[in-house]
């Protein structure tokens, strides 16, 4: 907004004299002359005070007479046309032309013959006047089918003019014949309010509709040629036919812009350069108070929006533009006139995001990039009017204007999916080259000289077309511009044997297959070290992008792929136990689970907790705290016994500890087998003091050599890790611990450490650890962690589990919680989420199931409800032969009035029997709302 001037009355129309740049604003009982200077707008003259006449003073349109700098015409609400001369002293009103019976909607002078004036009226006529003579004469009356909202002489052929009618038609007439329209187009659904001939292309006409809110651009030449009746002669012949029937054209618009509201007025942009030739400026007659600039080739977003008005904008006109400025003056019902400078307006593309992305819960990223946006911006910057000092002549009506450059149309967006973890682990080492590689894939490769990038150009083959390397767009991409090309980066571990990064812990995994010799701390080293070595690795990495896994160094092919945080959480969630054994046992179990999952730091944490608890337990049980710790250490030193086996040191004298261990075995005869020693044990600093947590509390137990190696192998871990539902038995929780006050005292010493540890994990956003630890410790020290905090952790953890579709685990957490709000979650809604078993075909007939699907909660197999029913009438075991003894507990069909009566929140622990639920899987009817029974996942 450059300048603003308040008016006394609401405006209805504005016109700018091309020569003098004087502005006339018409309105309700208002006709004011304004002038534009670099100071802004000045109110010069109120024409109403310069006439004695008081009637006819509300005008709907106003136009300057071409080549007569002081003369203008207004169309009054009453149907009169008033001719004014602002330079005339005394009464400015020259003449009144009467003839129309209703309001004048629009006026149009012929540029080449400024005597000729067209008036469009609500009385369904257009009248042609000759205002040059002393007594203005009405020359011709054109009767139209409907009220005429707009009229305009063609800018190229002086005998043609076009009208916009309230029935939605656009008609072209010849001034020499008022019999019949040359051309009729049913342009809009509702009334057509406005039209404008293209200033350069004689055949292009834009029209605006009020009900369909559309701006349409018509190619009149094409349509009249198609009709075969160009010219007035043909029109005269056709006039013999029933009126308008034959002439009506059903042609398609060349361009269409869907605007936001009824299009009140529109004009082609008077751009001094080629840029902007295809722009249309419009204002709405309702709702939208802004003046919008549209690019007909890109109609989805208004190129510019000129704000400022507080009410509907009623009219606008262009001031003569030059290289420096391009001014638009808009008048509004809010009693103001605003001067805008289009050359100062940033196009909408600067506010359009070229790149967008989304995460999924498994840390995949889908990224979209629209190369068109920067291209458009560049196009705008280079072709903006200010940059073009030589405006081309606007008279080339013979040759059609060039459409927008083709390069701008052939830039389909790129939508790709990445695995964040893999990207991260790959890129951490190869940040430099990777950047360029993908940049080239995005069509914006900056340097093509780098020979190390040879492979990356290949990468652009699978990826989107690169800007200058591969101009030929792959056909599928061209035809489907928004195709989601999902390719996942292949896990690559470049030559330097850096251990993969444990996702949550952000530290080296323990069981890597490489010997991590001289492994630099991965992150800073890679960032700070450019150079050719890294570049080569980057190339290898880009091969990985191509999926050329075969070219990878075989030595690294078997390295475990890095996992996302979510994958780790999933695995840990399955491995962790929070109840069913004394806390020390649980800690040992969870430590094993964590180490199996590769989360070394978590394993340390659990292990430390375990020793702390075991210490406390032994302190309570035998009063031999020192002995216990000694014993632990001895056994540790003696052979690297796995953690699970660490729990019961071989001294049977400490009965309490033994009791602790026994339940974990679940009656099974196997005690976790001793494991061959792995690492130099000295490196694994087991706690010697009563406060064993110090070691793991360090924020980064980063270590060199093999100190972080596992203390147990996976098969040793297997035994305690199995969460065998069959063996679920409620165990006396903290049986040995609760009996003694002394052990609690011992444990009290741990409290600050545990709290600090939990704070640490919470701060890192590792809600899983917090929630599980708090659950495990709750039985030992119920008031260790404030309830509010535990509730927060549990709620978050449950939410996380549900998002990862671990519904049973989430439910287990809910069930085992002592916090009301958490345990009440099961009663909040009746919906049950369950992971549908894979391949939901019927286990009996092997066909896909539609309709009722029932399956066993234990083994996950199922099928058609009927088939399952029959099967279990004669069998006990699962029809797939998995060996599970499913137990059938069918819903009696007779009780179907009360739908799904047996559906209760799934409780894994409550019984050893496993129910076979019968659930309607054709949930289309029930797909939403809390009454939903099952969501198909």
């Amino acid at each position: 907004m450059m300048a603003r001037l308040e008016l006394p009355k609401p405006a209805t129309a504005v016109s700018v004299a091309a020569e003098t740049e004087s502005v006339i604003v018409a309105g309700r009982e208002m006709l004011r002359l304004l002038s534009v200077s670099h100071d802004g707008l000045q109110d010069v003259l109120d024409l109403h005070t310069h006439t004695r006449k008081t009637a006819n003073l509300s005008s709907l349109d106003v136009k300057w007479r071409p080549h007569h700098p002081s003369q203008l015409a207004t169309g009054a609400m009453t149907g009169a046309i008033l001719l004014w001369d602002t330079a005339k002293r005394g009464d400015s009103l020259l003449r009144t032309l009467s003839g129309h019976s209703r309001a004048i909607n629009a006026l149009s002078f012929l540029e080449r013959e400024p005597n000729k004036l067209l008036s469009a009226s609500q009385d369904k006529t257009v009248r042609l006047w000759d205002v040059g003579q002393r007594l203005a004469q009405q020359q011709l009356v054109f009767n139209t089918a409907a009220e005429v909202r707009d009229v305009q002489f063609s800018k190229h052929s002086p005998t043609r003019f076009a009208v916009a009618l309230e029935n939605g038609m656009i008609q072209v007439y010849d001034t020499r014949s008022n019999k019949e329209a040359v051309l009729s187009v049913q342009a809009h659904l509702g009334p057509a309010f406005c039209l404008d001939h293209h200033p350069a292309d004689a055949n292009m006409l834009a029209s605006g509709g009020s009900r369909d809110n559309k701006i349409k651009v018509w190619d009149l030449e094409h349509s009249s040629a198609g009709g075969g009746v160009p010219g007035p002669a043909a029109a005269g012949v056709a006039a013999a036919a029933p009126r308008r029937g034959d002439m009506l054209k059903y042609i398609d618009p060349v361009y269409m812009v869907q605007t936001l509201a009824a299009v009140g007025r529109l004009k082609w942009r008077c751009s001094p350069s080629d840029y902007g030739r295809w722009h249309i400026v419009s204002c709405a007659s309702s709702i939208d108070f802004k003046v919008q600039v549209w690019d007909v080739a890109r109609p989805a977003i208004a190129l510019m929006s000129l704000p400022g008005h507080k009410d509907v904008c009623c009219g606008f006109d262009f001031l003569p533009s030059n290289a420096q400025r391009e001014l638009v003056l808009s008048a509004s019902k809010d009693q103001s006139v605003i001067l805008h400078d289009l050359s100062q307006q940033a196009p909408a593309y600067t506010d359009v995001r070229p790149i967008a992305f989304g995460w999924n819960p498994y840390d995949d990223l889908t990224v979209s990039f629209s190369p068109l946006v920067p291209k458009l911006r560049a196009h705008h910057a280079s072709a903006a009017p200010a940059a073009d000092p030589h405006p081309t002549a606007a008279s080339s009506s013979a040759s059609k204007l060039a459409p927008p450059p083709a390069s701008l149309t052939a830039a389909p967006p790129i939508v790709q999916r990445y695995s964040a973890t893999r990207l991260q682990s790959a890129v951490e080492r190869t940040a430099v080259v990777e950047t360029r590689a993908v940049a080239s894939m995005l069509g914006k490769c900056k340097s093509s000289s780098d020979s190390a990038l040879g492979h990356t150009r290949n990468a652009s083959y699978h990826g989107p077309p690169s800007g200058h390397e591969a101009p030929s767009t792959p056909p599928h991409r061209a035809s489907l511009p928004n195709i989601l090309s999902s390719f996942q980066t292949v896990a690559v571990h470049p030559a330097a044997s850096q251990p993969p990064i444990a996702p949550i812990a952000s530290m080296p995994l323990l069981p890597t297959l490489h010997s991590s010799s001289s492994a630099p701390s991965p992150l800073p080293a890679s960032r700070g070290a450019p150079g050719s070595a890294i570049a080569v690795r980057g190339a290898a990495c880009c091969e990985g992008f191509l999926g050329a896994a075969g070219r990878l160094d075989a030595a690294h092919a078997d390295a475990p792929p890095p996992r996302s945080d979510a994958a780790l959480v999933r695995q840990l969630a399955r491995g962790y136990r929070t109840h069913g054994a004394p806390p020390a046992e649980l800690c040992a179990h969870n430590a094993a689970a964590a180490s199996e999952a590769g989360a070394a730091q978590l394993a340390h944490t659990w292990l430390a907790l375990h020793f702390g608890l075991a210490e406390a337990a032994s302190a309570g049980g035998g009063g031999a705290a020192e002995g216990a710790s000694e014993g632990d250490l001895n056994s540790e030193a003696g052979g690297g016994v796995p953690a699970a086996a660490n729990v019961p040191p071989s001294e049977t004298s400490r009965g309490s500890v033994s009791r602790v261990h026994t339940p974990l075995g679940m009656g099974a005869p196997h005690v976790p087998p001793p494991v061959t020693p792995l690492a130099p044990l000295g490196a694994f600093d087991l706690p010697r003091e009563a406060m064993p947590l110090v070691e793991s509390l360090g924020p980064s137990p980063k270590s060199d050599g093999g100190s972080d190696r596992l203390l147990w192998t996976s098969n040793a871990v297997q035994a305690p890790i199995r969460l065998d539902t069959d063996h679920e038995k409620m165990l006396p929780i903290a049986l040995p611990l609760s009996t003694s006050g002394q052990q609690l005292e011992t444990f009290a010493l741990l409290k600050p450490l545990v709290l600090a540890m939990l704070d640490y994990h919470a701060g890192r956003g590792d809600v899983q650890t917090c929630a599980v630890v708090s659950q495990v410790l709750h039985s030992v020290a119920p008031d260790l962690i404030p309830k509010e905090r535990r509730q927060r952790w549990l709620l978050s953890y449950i939410e996380l589990l549900q998002r990862l579709q671990l519904f049973e685990l989430a439910n287990a957490v809910i069930k085992s919680s002592d916090i009301e709000r958490v345990s009440a979650m099961n009663t909040l809604s009746t919906s049950i989420n369950q992971q549908r078993p894979q391949g939901a075909g019927c286990s009996v007939c092997q066909l896909p199931v539609r309709g009722l699907y029932s399956w066993c909660q234990g083994c996950g197999h199922g099928g058609h409800a009927k088939h399952m029913r029959t099967w279990f009438q004669g069998n006990l075991e699962c029809p797939t032969g998995c060996g599970h003894r499913c137990q059938l507990r069918l819903v009696p069909p007779a009780r179907n009035e009360q739908p799904y009566p047996s559906l209760k929140p799934v409780d894994q622990r409550s019984s050893t029997e496993l129910k076979l639920l019968e659930i309607a899987s054709d949930c289309e009817a029930h797909m939403k709302g809390p009454t939903t029974v099952l969501r198909q996942l």
Partner: protein, 355 residues
């Protein structure tokens, strides 16, 4: 005719991560299979460019909300055809159009599940509106719960006529906190609104101020209740317009994490803490929602090379991704040495350039 199918405005995964929806300047919404990339459905959704998409929590149905240049917010629900449940049978049905906005609607967000079916939208008419479907089964009826002019009360008090419009909005996802909204503005400010249960409306709760970030002592940039923010110096979070704001999932932290992206080429990460419960170690801090005071501190600033368009936390809140104007996507991760965010203003995140 040129259909302009050339600018993808937003990409959104559904809750489970099974499907991806994109919206584009060609007024179409497209839904893809998240794994295979197969296009499942597409339809013309608006009469203008679609700016943002948001998936509803699946408990309420398979539904999307979209907001557009055409001033509408549309609720789309996937309804299955009766007979054919194959891919061809999926159809997205327009359940409701929210037409309250008087200008382009630029961002939307669904409330977390525990808040019910609520949708916030903000647009260039400077209003933030919260709509609710009172009957969660019926997605076709939405009522306006709350609407407030998001120019901030600060503009009136300081007398500075800010022509700032809200550009982005995010809902607090935490089930343990009251309903809160954070809104980023075109003038670089980021403000927090909290739902006042007593009065049943949202009231300004805090203003984000990057100038106080360097200080380790808390700066009293926050206020009680209805926005009597510290006068004089305006709290400015960024020096240029805020393009996106993302609220991290409540992963059990004692504070909330919010990331803002701006045209000033930075992403800032903020911690938001309830001052009342900060000192008491979260003990028996009464959950008196109305009386809580919130304090936001910038805990780190991540520099970029060009303006940052989008920022989003991953599901765990353990990684942060940002996208830049030049097509760069960056991933950030909390560096391991920084154990406690809330105490350290010099938290470092490891930048990983991807593209």
């Amino acid at each position: 005719m040129a259909d302009g199918a050339d600018m993808v405005m937003d990409v959104a995964y559904d809750y489970w991560g099974k499907r991806v929806a994109t919206c584009a300047s060609d007024q179409m919404i497209r839904v893809f299979d998240g794994q295979t990339g197969e296009k499942l459905s597409e339809w013309k959704a608006h009469n203008g460019s679609i700016w943002r998409l948001a998936w509803m929590h699946p408990e309420f149905g398979v539904a999307l909300a979209s907001c557009s240049f055409d001033r509408k917010v549309c609720i789309w629900e996937e309804v299955a055809d009766a007979e054919d449940s194959a891919a061809a049978g999926r159809a997205w049905k327009l359940q409701h159009e929210i037409q309250d906005a008087r200008d382009s609607v630029v961002d939307i967000d669904f409330a977390p599940r525990h808040c019910g079916l609520r949708l916030v939208s903000c647009g260039e008419d400077r209003m933030v509106r919260v709509h609710e479907a009172p009957d969660v089964v019926d997605l076709s009826s939405w009522t306006l719960v709350s609407a407030f002019e998001a120019d901030g009360g600060a503009a009136s008090t300081s007398g500075r006529a800010r022509a700032s419009t809200p550009l982005c909005v995010a809902w607090c996802p935490s089930p343990s906190e009251p309903q809160m909204l954070v809104v980023g503005f075109s003038d670089g400010s980021v403000l927090l609104w909290a739902y006042d249960e007593l009065h049943g409306r949202f009231s300004r709760a805090a203003a984000f101020d990057s100038s106080s970030s360097a200080l380790s002592t808390p700066n009293p940039t926050t206020s009680h209740g209805s926005g009597n923010v510290k006068k004089g110096a305006e709290a400015v979070a960024h020096s240029d317009c805020v393009r996106d704001v993302s609220w991290a999932a409540d992963a059990g932290r004692s504070y909330q994490l919010i990331a803002t992206a701006s045209r000033d080429q930075t992403v800032r990460v903020w911690t938001l803490q309830s001052v009342a419960s900060a000192g008491t170690n979260g003990g028996a801090a009464a959950a008196g929602v109305a009386g809580r005071t919130w304090q936001a501190r910038c805990c780190c600033e991540l520099a970029h090379r060009s303006q940052v368009w989008r920022v989003e936390w991953n599901a765990l809140g353990s990684m942060l991704a940002s996208s830049e104007d030049d097509g760069t996507l960056r991933l950030f991760r909390l560096e391991r040495s920084s154990a406690v965010w809330s105490q350290s203003s010099a938290v470092q995140l490891v930048a990983v350039a991807v593209e």
